[in-house]
């Protein structure tokens, strides 16, 4: 692929497409849709596949309404809708890792209502701090590799996995570098620059992200006179909230989002056994609230991130009907209260419009500006 003249425009553009345009031009059968940040991207890449995150960047297609109850989150409705209306036909397969009850059930529903689809599952450990988790996950990853070979004829070797681990470490380094340069990006652009990592082939993303970071390193930071926010929560699939932060005079200094920085650490590193390295990375990353990780709860992590970034407030984005985040929002709010950090809980649904979000964000930013 040739280099884009403007890396930021490319990164922004891919976040606005329902399914990235590059998939149309790629050989059929090379892209795999993944529905969660716990998907082992490295393993799919090592099998010669290109993982791309499935998401719902706007009003979900109505195609799924006949197959899912109304109390299903818009993310699940959106991606099943795309499977039903043919948008995902160019994918070789989809991988639904074990995450919340909704995504878990979605795998079975998908197989029933789109029988031609190749739906892979990966049942990752829930209790990520259990001493038993690593050995089990290693075997589960190897089982996935066997199924990829059996059903798609794709082979994962130790060597190909090792190379893919290093490549995705590079992706995470590129993301971390952009995260450190947020002070030169609008909230909307920072969101897009990080979210695009889930939507582009890894080499392409690294090339664009590095070029963008090089350019930003030479630029001056924006004036530091706006209220500093941290974005937290499940997933932000559309630019509405960061764009409103920009418009209403705030800035985002960090995030703990599913398609943001939550999984950026640790790196897998050089390893003798790449399977162990991949399993360890998945277990040691900052856990999604769906995981049982008593020593690494969201609240403590947010309080630490607030202290590190100097954020003055946290906007906690909750996708409606996302149960793990709704449960975790309660102790997270308590931890932030204890740290003296103001917070705003924003419940959203994809494509649900800006009016209420705008009003609440505006009030929150005014509150923070008044407290400076």
């Amino acid at each position: 692929m040739s280099a884009s003249p403007d890396p930021l425009a490319t990164l922004r553009g891919v976040c606005e497409e329902e399914l990235p345009a590059w998939i149309r031009d790629a050989p059929k059968g090379s892209a795999v849709g993944v529905a969660c940040s716990y998907a082992p991207l490295e393993l799919l890449h090592a099998a010669g596949l290109v993982p791309v995150r499935l998401r719902c960047p706007g009003q979900p297609s109505a195609a799924a309404d006949a197959w899912l109850p109304p109390f299903t989150c818009s993310v699940a409705r959106g991606i099943l809708g795309m499977a039903l209306d043919g948008t995902l036909d160019r994918l070789a397969a989809v991988l639904l890792p074990h995450t919340c009850d909704t995504i878990q059930e979605l795998a079975g529903i998908w197989r029933l209502v789109v029988p031609a689809a190749e739906v892979f599952t990966l049942v990752e450990p829930l209790a990520v701090e259990s001493p038993r988790a690593q050995a089990y996950l290693r075997q589960e990853l190897q089982s996935l590799a066997e199924r990829l070979q059996e059903r798609l004829g794709r082979c994962v070797t130790d060597e190909s996995l090792r190379e893919s681990l290093l490549l995705y470490d590079h992706v995470r380094r590129a993301r971390a570098r952009l995260d450190r340069l947020r002070d030169r990006l609008s909230a909307r652009d920072a969101w897009a620059a990080l979210a695009a990592a889930w939507l582009l082939p890894p080499h392409r993303y690294v090339e664009l992200a590095d070029r963008l970071a090089d350019a930003l390193a030479k630029a001056s930071p924006f004036p530091d006179d706006r209220p500093r926010l941290l974005l937290a929560g499940s997933v932000i699939d559309e630019p509405l909230i960061p764009a409103l932060v920009d418009e209403l005079g705030g800035r985002v200094v960090g995030d703990d989002l599913c398609n943001g920085m939550r999984d950026a650490e640790p790196l897998a590193g050089e390893s003798v056994d790449p399977w162990d390295a991949l399993a360890a990375r998945l277990l040691q990353r900052a856990p999604c609230p769906v995981r049982h990780a008593p020593t690494r709860a969201l609240g403590g992590r947010l309080a630490e991130l607030v202290a590190r970034t100097g954020a003055q407030g946290v906007v906690h984005v909750l996708v409606k009907f996302c149960d793990p985040h709704a449960f975790e929002a309660v102790p997270a709010a308590q931890a932030l209260d204890a740290a003296g950090c103001p917070q705003l809980l924003l419940e959203v649904e994809a494509g649900s419009g800006a009016a209420q979000v705008r009003t609440r964000l505006q009030a929150f930013l005014e509150l923070l500006a008044g407290g400076r």
Binding site: A66, T72, L112, Y136, F327
Partner: protein, 401 residues
Amino acid sequence: MGRYARLESALELSRLMERHYAEALDRRHPRPVAWVNAGAPVELLRAADILPVYPENYAAMCGVRGGVWLCEAAERAGYSRDLCSYARISLGACLERTAAPYEGLGRPDLLVCCNNSCGTIVKWFEALARFFGAALFVIDTPYMHDGLPGHAVAYVAAQLEDLIRWLEQRTGHGITASVLDEALRLSREVTLLWREIRNLCRVRPSPLNAPDLFTHMAPIVVLRGAPEAVAYYRRLRDEVRQRVQHGIGAIPNEQYRLLWDNIAIWSHLSRFYYLFAARGACFVVDTYTGAWDAVPEEGDPIESLARVYTGVYLNRSVGFRLEHMQQLMQDYACDGFVMHNNRSCKAFSLGQPAARRLLTEATGAPGLLLEADMCDTRAYAEQQVRMRVEAFLETLAGRAG
């Protein structure tokens, strides 16, 4: 419910459950109290001489009595109204202990939960553990999309070994093989009795209706592995057998035999099911009370427990559940089915719209998908429910012709 035949065992059931709750609240007894979920391997706790107490059963009981005020207490503390109403009732009862039934269930010394029913249970128990400052052990049973691989059995078995050591550290005494064998023997026996009772409903007229099973399932949940549960279910089995021998049906004039899918609507246990019984429709089988149907096999007790607790109904794919319901429809000669699309239980409910369509295609039987909630009456639209049930029953009547 007028002519609805009440089981004589119901009185003994009330006594048994009263004793259970009294024991849970009696802080003079020396046994530690563990709050556990319905899918936890309770045999290990019984073998460790720990008293298991069930917030899910407690929430269902509050649901029968009217649990919205407890849901609202949890909502005031920040828990979303979209979350499971069992969890909200349980957390609300912790916050409102002086006014809640049975003092909000007292307090646990420790907590044990297993995610074989859903992920929600883990978040709920984490919240309870935080509230009481009590230790929590979580058992992770991998979801069975495509069967149960050997590495998953080994993973669960290893966690059960860890649980034994964790319990031993807390009680200060070991779990002996003979005590565990006895708990497993009792668990096996009570499960077989429960299976036998449910199987008796294959006859026409069915001796039991789903509300009977919902009510009498309590001991299989909270007293599994205890001798009093075996005694109770022997008595119930004998009573149900007598009904079969004398051709006594659960409802006066059984005309339609139905399958029920999902958790009961506890808040309307009489009124809702009466809509059906009054028109001769009996729920002869259900997928909810069948969740306690798996019998631990002989052999290595830990591996047996690992297989039983991983293989429970809700830990299996929608495709498996669809085939299971198809088999039940055939075995129990059902004319139709009703699916409670339960806002509180995504694990049970998300696959139902697909399953309803495919089950009708496979069996030719009509199905009703009804959105409600197991305990939160704010999600129960009385008039709408009545109209949809009547339309469904008219469809059944039209087919019977």
